[in-house]
Amino acid sequence: MSNGISRRAVLAGSGAAALSLPALSIAAPPPATLLNVSYDPTREFYKDFNALFATDWTRKTGQAVKINQSHDGSGKQARAVVDGLEADVVTLALAYDIDQIAAKGLIAPNWQGRLPDNSSPYTSTIVFLVRAGNPKKIHDWIDLVRPGVQVITANPKTSGGARWAYLAALGFATRHNGGNEQRALGFVRGIYKNVPVLDTGSRGATNTFVQRGIGDVLVGWENEALLSIDEVGPGKLEVVRPSMSILAEPPVSVVDRVADKHGTRKIAEAYLRFLYTPAAQDLAARRHYRPRNSAVAAKYAQKFPPMDLITINNFGGWSKAQARNFVDGGAFDKIYQPG
């Protein structure tokens, strides 16, 4: 037998084998695609988490999975989903935003009870970021109303994080004014009188404080504060944790109507449940989110010292808090009305 013939035979044989291979392997289903519509500061976390989940899912089921991410302001993302962006899952900053999607019938009304911990696999809180050495001696909310202290925070009407910050301040003021709402709002007004620049988003406020060097204290997400310290290096900024703050619970949900249409419900649910596994919780902690898992939380106890935290329930839930404070003509607008 000559060399030429044998090579051709081998090539033909291997070609036939390659063609028949997919038919033979019964275990490999077609690859799945998921779209996770999230908010701004989770970009880095979900990039790592998606890789972690995809490896785990393929190992367990043999199915390849590709996860696409979309990030923007939380409210804007919720509106995009309502307007038809086909998200299989949403991972947003506020339950209020997911409620708005649920109100349009895309998500079951009981969504927040479907996963543990109010469907919030990681949490964060509102802290202060000050310049090295804390030159203005800012330790608690009461220091923010002092004359001559410049406070940087974002606009609660356009930023989810800023809404948490506003409510944390209001919660502090309510507690220290014996529950008197008018006096509490007066205190919050005092804080915003010290705000020279009102950015539209949390990241913008962080930039104003860190890059532009404006203000004495940044009031915002703990995860953003820790990230800024990572970025500018040690010895320039310090985190100050006030005597009390608020438990910010960024929630997640499957978008039922989209997942059912795409046939991705099973994998979408697994994706969200995987957020609660120790590996994912560890990743969240490294990305500066407070983990829910107690073992992981213990491991990162130094990074996330325990704090006295109120919750959104202190304000009667998001719908009430929103209607009272952040609608047009609400308590926040009154701060900026003359007189």
Binding site: G73, G75, K76, R79, Q100, N155, K157, T158, V195, P196, V197, L198, D199, T200, G204, Q211, R212, G213, I214, Q322, F326, V327, D328, G329, D333, Y336, Q337, P338
Partner: protein
């Protein structure tokens, strides 16, 4: 002309005088091109505007009025339009000068300078805004010089004006440049000519475009304005913040108000242009 003057069919006798609804042209393909123009303009411009105008009436006329005449909204509309007006006026003077230099003189780097004018068109507006904020912030290159002498630009209404200067400049320069190129040097020396009239018309076009664009500008302004309600908050930000509160009707109300003002400004400049060209023809 009345409807009765138009013959019902093509066979109608030509006895009655009729005005053709289009000028006869030697270039073929009018029907197709015209159909495409109407369709395209409808899809890209008219339909979205119609959708916008349909939106604010959820709470009736009073809801619309409340959304517009809230003090915070009025202050934002005033800031957006006044800053856009001042920036457009400044750009008319500066843009004319720049266009003049670029068309009339030959100097090393002229082509580069010419290309630079287009940069505000090409740059993502957010990039322009961040760059300006970095320059004019108290710790920026320019801010460092201005702050000690008591001039604050970034995070004040003055910052809005500066951002709109950058955004509007290419509109004026690019509108005037071709006209200046056509004018010959002899014409320039004679002050009152037809050429001067067409330059004025081009300047007006540039002014109107820069003004309308500036009033609606969001991306570059947001980073330098400071965004304080009632002080340095622009109208597009009021729209965005209403949307964040899921107040679609309130957001659309401000949009419609801005549309009306911008449309009015464009119509006035158009009317002035027509008047100018008639005067020039006389």
């Amino acid at each position: 002309m009345t409807a009765a003057a138009i013959p019902a069919s093509m066979d109608a006798p030509l006895a009655a005088p009729r005005t053709p609804w289009r000028e006869p042209s030697a270039v073929p393909g009018f029907r197709l091109a015209f159909g495409f123009t109407v369709l395209y303009l409808s899809l890209i411009v008219a339909l979205p505007l119609a959708a916008l105008c349909a939106r604010p009436w959820e709470h009736g006329l009073s809801g619309f009025a409340d959304a517009i005449f809230a003090p915070r909204t009025l202050a934002a509309l005033r800031l957006s339009f006044v800053a856009a007006l001042l920036a457009a006026l400044a750009n008319v003077a500066l843009g004319l000068l720049i266009a003049w230099v670029l068309t009339r003189y030959d100097f090393p780097g002229r082509r580069i300078a010419d290309a630079l004018v287009d940069l505000p068109f090409a740059l993502p507006t957010a990039v322009a805004g961040i760059a300006l904020a970095t320059l004019y912030a108290p710790n920026g290159w320019i801010g460092e010089i201005l702050t000690p002498i008591g001039i604050k630009v970034a995070f004040t209404p003055l910052g809005v004006f500066v951002a709109l200067l950058a955004v509007g400049l290419p509109f004026v320069v690019r509108a005037v440049q071709p006209v200046l190129q056509d004018l010959d040097a002899a014409c320039e020396e004679a002050a009152q000519t037809l050429g001067a009239g067409s330059a004025t018309a081009a300047l007006l076009t540039g002014f109107a475009l820069a003004f309308a664009r500036g009033a609606g500008e969001y991306g570059s302004v947001i980073f330098i304005a400071g965004n304080m309600p009632g002080l340095s908050e622009i109208a597009p930000l009021v729209i965005v913040s209403r949307l964040e509160g899921y107040d679609y009707a309130g957001a659309a109300s401000v949009g419609v108000a801005m549309l009306i003002v911008s449309l009015g400004a464009l119509m006035i400049t158009n009317a002035v242009q027509v008047w100018l060209s008639r005067r020039g023809a006389r």
